[in-house]
Amino acid sequence: MKPIYFFLPLVCAFAIFSFRIYSTPIPNQPQFDENTLGQIAKGKLVYQKYNCQSCHQIYGLGGYLGPDLTNCMKEGRNGELLIKTLTQVGTTQMPSFPISESEMENLIAFFKALDQTGNSDPRHFIVSSNGMIAEHE
């Protein structure tokens, strides 16, 4: 059998799989109005502009020098104050950043929305005997 007969079906399956991922909304996600969605998208661009991913992670994805920021806005963590202070004065490891007021607003909106998407702490998963994991209800 010619290799092309294996190659083409795999490519077709991948195309369908990819299209489904692009087009289906993610379940159990918070809903935001258009205005907030725009702010979130701009906030993500601020995160990229100052290359925060070089040191920080979102859901464990990113750099390794600083802590994961997924739930930095969780209640009781003073997230907003910490983000504003640390980006202005820096730390031993982190430089200060010339973030404008509107950029900061968008960045904070992004982190707040990110916090509502889920929990990045791996301890909240339940492990099954087949090696699979599931989130706590």
């Binding site: 070089s54 490891q93 090696g131 994991i133």
Partner: protein
């Protein structure tokens, strides 16, 4: 043989070697931040050095892979490479490299992990790969009954174009607004993209085995095609193991888990062929390209075990977001990708005018220093990762800063390993560049490799 065409392989490999040298130096500077926090913070700092290092070494792999394919094409189809296409492809790369590093030095970012540069510079890279794809398809059409490595090269080039484009879907606002959907697509693209350049480089290793053994048994066997399709299947569907903990589409996790577990077949195959490789090694051990391929197999073995365990979701909870992931990335890009490109480069530059063949002691030492340095580097990262993994799963855990201080001995090991492998890589790269310059000085002594019969 037409000099121009051999030179395209050399042109890409030489450019790749320069990127490797830059990447190594930048990597050492970036790693210093782990030992001396805040190193160069006010000037470049980790925030610029990390993307510079990552881009340089990624370009080493991508340019090196392009050089490998040009070498293979020229061996299979002498005098047929379209010079204008190849030269334009190379020129686009140079434009992209200059633009990217200029903007990094100015502190301008805007992209995403591994591709932190401003998105405008992705355009020349994409254009270069589209030209590469056209070049490849035009040439490969002339070949009948493709050996498996030609299929692998085609798959790698085609899917790099696709995944690189997919990686920039975030530029469309509709994709960016949905945080989790956006992250899913980002890591879908990144995961499959790694599979794409692996297809090109694993294909190259099969091509080199054909050249060394003098027959095409490996590249036309049914087993080779079976493993190619299994690898391709994994490229398409196993990327979800990067995002097991992301609250994304629920079907992604079980699909990726099941597909990733098919890689045990590669593991079994590696064990099965181990004995044959050792007996073959006696024949070719003094031949550097073969030795690098043998080293590749050793690193495939270690990284495959690691990848298989990391792909089990329950264990992934401990490894995700830790230095175990970095160990895997370094083990595969240095231990596998870099070794294969070095094997090709040594094959390309092995020539009567510059002697790589007769037990060159300096090269011997550099080869072993590379393996030792990488082992120290890899083990240190694994150690740091295990400690961080236990910290992140502990019922009551201390703060992040204390945990990082606790990892310091592992970071020192990682730094020392990095210095050792840097010395080895710089030495090997300079030897290759010197061989190229020396042979150009005495062209009458140069003797090209014979094309495949």
């Amino acid at each position: 043989m037409n000099k121009w065409e051999t030179n395209f392989a050399k042109l890409f490999i030489n450019t790749a070697l320069l990127m490797l040298l830059a990447g190594i130096l930048l990597g050492c500077l970036a790693a210093a931040s782990y030992i001396w926090p805040g190193f160069l913070k006010q000037d470049l700092g980790f925030i610029s050095l990390r993307p510079m290092h990552v881009s340089a070494v990624l370009f080493w792999i991508l340019l090196g892979a392009s050089g490998c394919v040009y070498f293979g094409l020229n061996q299979n189809l002498p005098n047929s490479i379209n010079k204008h296409l190849a030269l334009t492809q190379w020129a686009l790369w140079i434009i992209a490299i200059m633009g990217i590093f200029f903007s990094y030095f100015q502190g301008k970012f805007g992209g995403r992990e591994y591709w932190e540069f401003e998105p405008i510079w992705a355009l020349p890279i994409l254009a270069a790969w589209i030209l590469f794809l056209i070049q490849f398809l035009v040439q490969a059409r002339k070949m009948k009954n493709w050996p498996v490595y030609v299929w692998m090269w085609m798959t790698g080039i085609l899917f790099f174009v696709f995944t690189f484009t997919e990686n920039y879907l975030w530029l469309i606002p509709g994709f960016r607004k949905e945080i989790i959907g956006d992250l899913t697509i980002q890591w879908k693209a990144n995961g499959s993209m790694v599979g794409s350049w692996n297809q090109i480089l694993y294909g190259t290793s099969i091509f080199l085995m054909d050249k060394i053994s003098g027959n095409n048994k490996t590249s036309t066997s049914k087993v080779a095609f079976f493993l190619y399709f299994l690898g391709f299947f994994n490229l398409l569907f196993n990327w979800g193991h990067h995002i097991y903990t992301l609250p994304t589409q629920p079907y992604i996790r079980p699909i990726s888990y099941a597909v990733s577990m098919t890689e045990w077949v590669f593991f079994a195959k590696t064990i099965y062929t181990w004995k044959n490789q050792l007996s073959e090694a006696k024949k070719h051990f003094s031949f550097f390209p073969y030795r690098f391929l043998l080293a590749t197999n050793f690193w495939v073995f270690l990284n495959l075990i690691q990848a298989l365990f990391m792909s089990i979701p329950a264990l992934n909870l401990y490894t995700h977001g830790t230095h175990i992931t970095v160990a895997h990335a370094m083990g595969t890009t240095i231990g596998i990708n870099t070794m294969i490109i070095f094997a090709t480069a040594f094959m390309l530059y092995t020539n009567p005018c510059y002697n790589f063949l007769q037990g060159n002691k300096q090269l011997n030492r550099l080869f072993w220093l590379l393996q030792l340095g990488l082992l120290v580097f890899w083990v240190s990262l694994l150690g740091a990762g295990v400690e961080k993994g236990l910290w992140q799963m502990a019922e009551s855990r201390g703060n992040f800063g204390d945990m990082m201080n606790h990892l310091r001995p592992w970071f020192i090991g990682f730094f020392i390993g990095g210095i050792l492998l840097s010395i080895a890589i710089i030495g090997l790269a300079l030897n290759l560049i010197w061989a190229y310059i020396f042979c150009r000085k005495y062209p009458e002594k140069e003797q090209e490799l014979k094309p495949i019969e």
